[in-house]
Assembly symmetry: C2
Homo-oligomer: 264 residues x 2
């Protein structure tokens, strides 16, 4: 007989980009979110309505007897919310935050059972999230809590990893490179073309192929271009053109050097 699925009573604190999608997928998988908290009543209502939960917008309305409290709030708000929450809830509750940038340990002063439930993706409410392919990193200070988090995470995603605070901090550094910095590089390409009235659409298939290639190969083995070829002629032409964009010129030089150093 199949094991009865684990169904903790969950209070979701935060109904922004992460809270919205995490609450939605938990409900979709049959979990009961007993309350949705947001300081913004409208946000709490919107999500609560969708997932048949109750909206609250004051921390002291939060019930004390839930099994899980998920803090899907901004990094800056985590400790503040935790400190206000802890006198109100039962000691056996498991309290996790969903941040990639903040250690789970910041919850330690407040709760005997704490951890992290971090879906590694960039979310926006306007765009559906395919949770099944989103890696979920979990951690908790005690093994039984880790087991529970893993069990629920595996209902949502096919990729569940146990990642401690130190590993998650490193993951976050790498995520800043591949997400924030890559996006900035796209902006640079877009700006260069915009100045000359060339549509950025011309580069989109190339961008997609660049990403498709690293799905199966290491990025280093896929490196091409004038830097790795040592094609100084082309590099000089590019730098000359980039006199029009001094900030981008510095980036071009440093990235070219970095490619050449890495592949020496």
């Amino acid at each position: 007989m199949p094991k009865r699925p684990y169904r903790p009573k969950i209070v979701l604190i935060g109904a922004g980009n992460v809270g919205f999608h995490l609450g939605s997928v938990l409900a979709e998988k049959g979990h009961h979110i007993v309350q949705v908290f947001s300081r913004t009543k409208k946000k709490a209502n919107r999500l609560a309505k969708m997932i048949s939960s109750k909206a609250v917008n004051k921390l002291d309305q939060i019930i004390p007897y839930a099994d899980w409290y998920i803090l899907a709030v901004s990094d800056q708000a985590i400790v503040d919310v935790a400190s206000k929450l802890h006198p109100k809830i039962q000691k056996q509750a498991l309290v996790v935050h969903t941040s990639g940038a903040t250690p789970g340990k910041v919850l330690q002063p407040y709760f005997p059972h704490y951890g992290n439930f971090y879906p590694l993706q960039t979310f926006s409410i306007a765009k559906p999230a395919d949770f099944h392919s989103i890696p979920i990193c979990i951690y908790a200070n005690r093994q039984p809590s880790r087991n529970k988090l893993t069990q629920v995470a595996k209902e949502l995603s096919s990729k569940v990893y146990t990642i401690d605070d130190q590993q998650r901090a490193i993951l976050h550094v790498a995520a800043v490179f591949v997400n924030n910095f890559t996006n900035h590089i796209f902006h640079v390409g877009e700006s260069i073309l915009e100045k000359e009235n060339i549509p950025f659409d011309l580069l989109k298939p190339l961008i997609q192929e660049t990403v498709a290639k690293i799905q199966e190969h290491s990025a280093q083995s896929m490196q091409t271009g004038p830097a790795i070829r040592g094609d100084e002629n082309t590099i000089q032409q590019h730098l000359e053109y980039l006199n029009k964009h001094p900030a981008f010129k510095t980036l071009y030089m440093l990235l070219t050097q970095s490619i050449q150093k890495t592949n020496r």
Copy 2:
């Protein structure tokens, strides 16, 4: 009655990544490649066999009476091949190269009709190319040649652009950013995780989402992360960790500054 499609006699010079895919799609669309040239007999044979063409591996075996000569050779080889080809072929022939990095004008000393036929994608023989979605940039020194190139390009792709030498040079600078530099940033992320035995797979959905977002929005409007938030606390933590990777630390600082300057 539909216009009879234009069917130039084509000689394809080069059977590497670009030549292979361009020759294949031209044949697929009903074009007759009368000869395939490669210095490497094996490469010429492989492609010629696939597309019912004739393989040659010496420039003086190239027939003089074709309508188009497509030079799909490396940037460094274009002028050399052109100079050896020009005494052998008829003056009315249209000669184009397929490079994004080299002006079409380098062919001017040799041929009265010259131009460029540049499929803007990164190709590898091992991977099928979906030409329909690949932008093709065309140019020729005379309008009738531009019309002919456009007509054939439109059979291959839904995105055909007339791009002159100067525009193509700028496009190439932007392509270096979004392809070569982005790939290097992926390598940085991969290296950071590798050092800590964290699988790079964890970041792949994030990378795909980063790219998905700019299909419909400007990259600048999609910028997130500690740099644009001015989150100095997180930035300092990241820089501290990156003491382990001094080269990547410099990149992190410069990219962070660049995001902050751009969005000020």
